[in-house]
Symmetry: C2
Subunit: 224 residues, 2 copies
DNA sequence: AATGGCTTTATTGTCGACAATTAAAACTAA
DNA sequence: TTAGTTTTAATTGTCGACAATAAAGCCATT
């Protein structure tokens, strides 16, 4: 029997351009607030404007681009205000994700996550102050907990929309978090609550964890 | 000086089709899970496939359509499982919105909201059991609180993505909530907390309010 | 009759060109 | 020179057509 191959990638030109543009925007290669010229980009990627616009519309869906009728697409502008808004949304969504993860994560998933934490701890002690790896590790931790929630909608909102914005801020605002060790400890407490199947505590701890990062940004903002 | 008219609507063909399709999908005129034929729809609206696809891509961004490469767009399918996921997300996001609304809503905004509640109460006592008005009123209440949060990202996620899905479920699952009076009372308590600037309580009450709806669906699901 | 492969048809992906709108440049008048 | 207006150029919105892929129909074989 020929099973209807539901997992056929069928990668399309617009897909590859979408992924490449997304990376260039997140990493700041295409500057914040800059206008995207359709003729220019279609020439760059050697594709037609139609397929480019397909890719651009998806990037708008991710919240990385903004569009005005008859004017065109612009890369979103970053601001401390918007960053604080993201923290608020993450606090609520990831708090819920953590509560659900405590209910739904399997023993092996939890074991994997604990192992991941150990690996990150090794890295941290080896290359102390290496902010990049640290931050990527942090996001990896959060990513896995969201996946562990088993809530597809929640996962889509966080992993396919917000996290690209989060990475964009980290790249371009360069937040070398001074709370590395504390963050690691908080991660440890969170996973303990998940292991104990204490969803209520897990949510509280995750919310505090993210809220602390937000307050950290607010504090720095006030000193500037 | 000619101020650059930033508020020029510049309504485009794709915009009107987008809005019309959105309504037809939400109200079930275009059936859940059905495949959208681009040639057919472009003929129906008397537009080219290009501008139709523009509208469709935006509907995908709203979570009303799903797309597979080389296969096309389908209206999302509804399920109790997905509805429960929406409730979880709403519980977290609207809880946060309510907390922020308690901090940020102006006195006049709060007064307007209280007035709205009274109007809804009148309607409810006049046309008892008229589920439609009741449900629309409920969503209007939630809508205003989200707006009152002052968090643009939060507002975008809820009002431009989730609420259309919520209305779609209400139209097509026809949830004549048996908790009308209780819901009204809960709304009253929530706005009281907001008026008292008690963000923590406001969040708890809103979460309970939404959680109760979710449990209501879960209960009904078990009896079927 | 049912299954597997092939052919045909239809749909989506991609392309280039024209029309409508906006932004820039050039021009005129004070 | 500067403000306002007109003209020009560039960009986006829209269109129809072709190519690539998937679905449907057909035939042969078991």
């Amino acid at each position: 029997m020929q099973t209807t191959n539901n997992l056929s990638p069928s990668i399309t030109r617009a897909d590859t351009v979408f992924i490449d543009l997304r990376q260039r925007i997140v990493e700041g290669d295409i500057k914040t607030g800059s206008k995207l010229s359709e003729p220019e980009l279609s020439k760059y990627y050697e594709i037609s404007r139609s397929t480019l616009r397909d890719a651009l519309s998806r990037l708008e869906g991710c919240g990385l681009l903004e569009r005005k009728a008859n004017i065109g697409y612009r890369v979103v502008t970053l601001s401390t205000q918007k960053l604080l808004e993201i923290f608020r949304v993450r606090e609520s969504l990831e708090g819920m994700a953590c509560r659900l993860a405590a209910q739904n994560m399997s023993a092996s998933q939890i074991a994997d996550l604990k192992h991941l934490l150990e690996v990150h701890n090794q890295h941290e002690s080896l290359q102390q102050g290496e902010a990049y790896i640290q931050e990527e590790g942090d996001l990896d931790f959060h990513f896995r907990i969201v996946m562990g929630s088993g809530n597809i909608l929640l996962t889509r909102l966080l992993c396919e929309e917000l996290y690209y914005l989060v990475r964009m801020y980290r790249y371009q605002f360069g937040m070398a978090s001074p709370r590395a060790k504390r963050a690691f400890s908080e991660h440890h407490h969170i996973i303990q609550a998940i292991e104990d199947k204490d969803g209520e505590l897990a949510e509280i701890l995750m919310r505090r964890h993210i809220s602390a990062s937000r307050k950290n940004v607010e504090k720095r903002m006030n000193t500037l």
